[in-house]
Structures are given as structure tokens and as C-alpha cells.
Assembly symmetry: C2
Homo-oligomer: 215 residues x 2
């Protein structure tokens, strides 16, 4: 018997949907948010590079400023939490070094023991044009997004992933470039409003026969 | 009290790691796999486009053929399941139409009611160069990957996401282009071997203070 049964998992995944209207009066409890914050930290990435930072915008004034750059989608101001998934600028050799240093620290091994890995990661990152590395690293940010949406659903937390926003305006308002990051995608998280009409709509998915094929 | 507690969620997320050596004698039980298959179908995507297909390679002969194109990583042959996350070629206006048709069918509304949505999605897909659409849709495939890895961990199923493979060889061996798809990323799933040395290594993550910032 697994800690979570297949039925419970599927129940939560069927329950989730992209919330259009959040209950602005209902915050995520601190203990639940702490678990979601840690689940962000635990996300998987290529080589373990973690080429990201998750900016959680808590200031209501800042969130109001972001609204016009979010196609007016009110999730940005109404949800309990607004998370900006941001990509580190110019991921390259320094990041391989940083990772090697962290690996040695966490695993309690001499830094020399991580040298082979550092060289392999460095070579992988520096043998392609930066634009290709950026696209590759952007993909990793989307792994973290999928991970976060699923983790939230398991804790009965509603979400809405959002690509409909002007990244350059987010960057400017939040000062991300000065920190070395760029906004890639958003997730709003909280609880659905009781009158969100979208909650009742059947989920639109293609039949399994069109989406999964056994070879 | 939520169906899954924060402690259970975090326990599973800390337990997971990128398995290097699977127990090749231990398959995923049918009921557990069925839930993972459905969780793939339930993945989130931009506009709900689901620009993907998940090819599950069951033939041992085919998997052996793929091994030399996977940097020799034996997860490809040893894991219970090998899933090739593939992107639909040339996502565009036809996909918006297909989605509108499916929406009308699932939600039981006349097709005309989905026309506004179809036009919006079409315009969004056709107003950018195909290469940009492909990159955008590739991101969606990675959402599905993050979703799958998390769902598996919740069911005590081990995984290893894999980008280290030659996509063009996978495409050729599996005949994906003829089906209109291209391999993007892999996930192997099953159960860790009892002697996988990687299972015991502490997980390397940056401290939360470096990964999450409140603004």
C-alpha cells in the first residue's frame, strides 16, 4: 500500500483546473505554503543545475502594478500567492562551478571529487550557443512549474499557470534583470472562488487512445 | 485536513531522485501504471492544446536498440517503463480547430460556442514564426514531465528523467516523424535497484534563501 493511493492521486488531478477566479479572502496557511516552497526547492533539473529563482510577490501594491501587464487577469491580484518562475541569465561555466561547490558541501566530499562532473557540465553548457542553452534551461523552469502545480493539487491548493503576461514589464517592475534573472512563466496559487464558473466545466482532454501509444 | 498532508508530500519529494540503476525484475503493477497513464493525459498545457503524445516503449528489442543512442544509460532497458515525451510537429491552426471540436464534444456545447476561443488560439499560434511556436510547445512538454515525475513519486514509483539521448535516432527507430511527432525528453519509471549507490547520496539543492525570494 502506497502512502498516497492511485485513487487519491487521480482524484486530486481531476479536481485541479486553471482557476479563473480566486477567493481573495482565503490565504494559503503558512504550513501548507512552507511545503509548497520546499517543493519548489526540490524540483528536478538537468544536471541538477537549478537555473532558476522563484520570486513570490507579496506586496499588494506591486501586484496591482503587474495587473495591466497580465492581460488584466485578476488571478494576479486575487490569488493568495503569485510566483514568478524566473530563469537565471547566461547559465554557463560559473553555474557548473557553483553546483560542484554545493555538491561537495552537501555530500561532504572534497571539491576535487566533483571535478569530473563540473568539467562535464561545463563542457555541455559551453559547447552550444547561449541561445540554445537558454532554451534548454527554460525547459527546466517548466519542469518546476509542472512539479509545483501537481504538488499544490495534492495539498488541495488551487492554481492557475499563466503565460499571458508581458515578461519585460514584469522584469522591469520587479527589478529582475538587476538580480540576474528574467521572468519566464507565472503560477498563481490559493483557493477557487465559490462562483468561479470554470470549476464546474468538464476537463477537456483528448482520449487516452490519442495521447498515449504503446510501441 | 487535506487528503495528502504536507508531511507526506515532502516525504515523497525528498525520497525521489534520478535513479541510475533500476531493478529490472520489478515491474510497475498494472493499476499503478494506469494511474500514471491517466496522470499523463491530465497534464496541463497552454490553452489546453496538449501538443504531445507519450510513446511508451514496451518492446525489449526496441529498447535494446535505443540503448546505444542513450549514452549507454541502462535505465532505458532496465526500468519497468520507458516513456518518450514527443512534441506534435507544426502545431498551428489545425490544432486550435481540433481543440475546439473536442471542447464542444466534452462540454456538450454547439461547436459555434467554441469559435471565439478557436480564433484566439489560432491567432496566437499563427502570429509567430513556427520555430517560436515549437519552442513554446516544447515548454508544455516539460510541464507534463514535471507533472509525471511528481505523480510517480507520490505513488512510490521511481523515475529518471533523461535528456541524454539522440532524439533523431529515437525518432528514426520509433518511426515518430511518420506519425507527426518528434522525441523531446524521456522518463524511465520503475523501482530503484537495492544497490543503486545514488539512492543514498544526499540531494543537492541550493538553500531556500538562494532559490526563493519574497518581493
Amino acid at each position: 500500500m502506497t502512502a498516497v493511493t492511485p485513487d487519491v492521486l487521480l482524484d486530486r488531478l481531476r479536481w485541479r483546473y486553471a482557476v479563473k477566479k480566486f477567493d481573495s479572502a482565503r490565504p494559503i496557511a503558512a504550513g501548507v505554503w512552507a511545503a509548497l516552497e520546499e517543493s519548489l526547492v526540490l524540483s528536478t533539473s538537468s544536471y541538477g543545475l537549478q537555473p532558476w529563482k522563484f520570486f513570490v510577490v507579496t506586496s499588494p501594491e506591486t501586484r496591482a502594478q503587474l495587473l495591466p501587464h497580465s492581460w488584466g487577469q485578476r488571478q494576479v491580484v486575487d490569488a493568495s500567492h503569485l510566483v514568478v518562475f524566473a530563469l537565471k541569465e547566461g547559465v554557463g561555466a560559473d553555474d557548473a562551478t557553483r553546483l560542484a561547490r554545493r555538491t561537495a558541501e552537501v555530500q561532504g566530499v572534497p571539491i576535487e571529487k566533483t571535478d569530473g562532473y563540473r568539467k562535464m557540465v561545463t563542457s555541455s553548457l559551453t559547447s552550444k550557443p547561449q541561445s540554445e542553452v537558454d532554451a534548454w534551461m527554460t525547459n527546466q523552469v517548466y519542469i518546476a512549474l509542472g512539479h509545483f502545480l501537481t504538488a499544490a493539487a495534492l495539498l488541495d491548493v488551487d492554481t492557475c499557470p499563466m503565460e499571458g503576461f508581458v515578461a519585460s514589464e514584469y522584469d522591469a517592475i520587479l527589478g529582475l534583470p538587476a538580480k540576474g534573472y528574467h521572468a519566464i512563466v507565472l503560477a498563481t496559487a490559493g483557493y477557487r472562488a465559490s462562483d468561479d464558473a470554470y470549476a464546474a466545466k468538464p476537463k477537456v482532454r483528448y482520449p487516452v487512445s490519442e495521447v498515449v501509444e504503446y510501441l
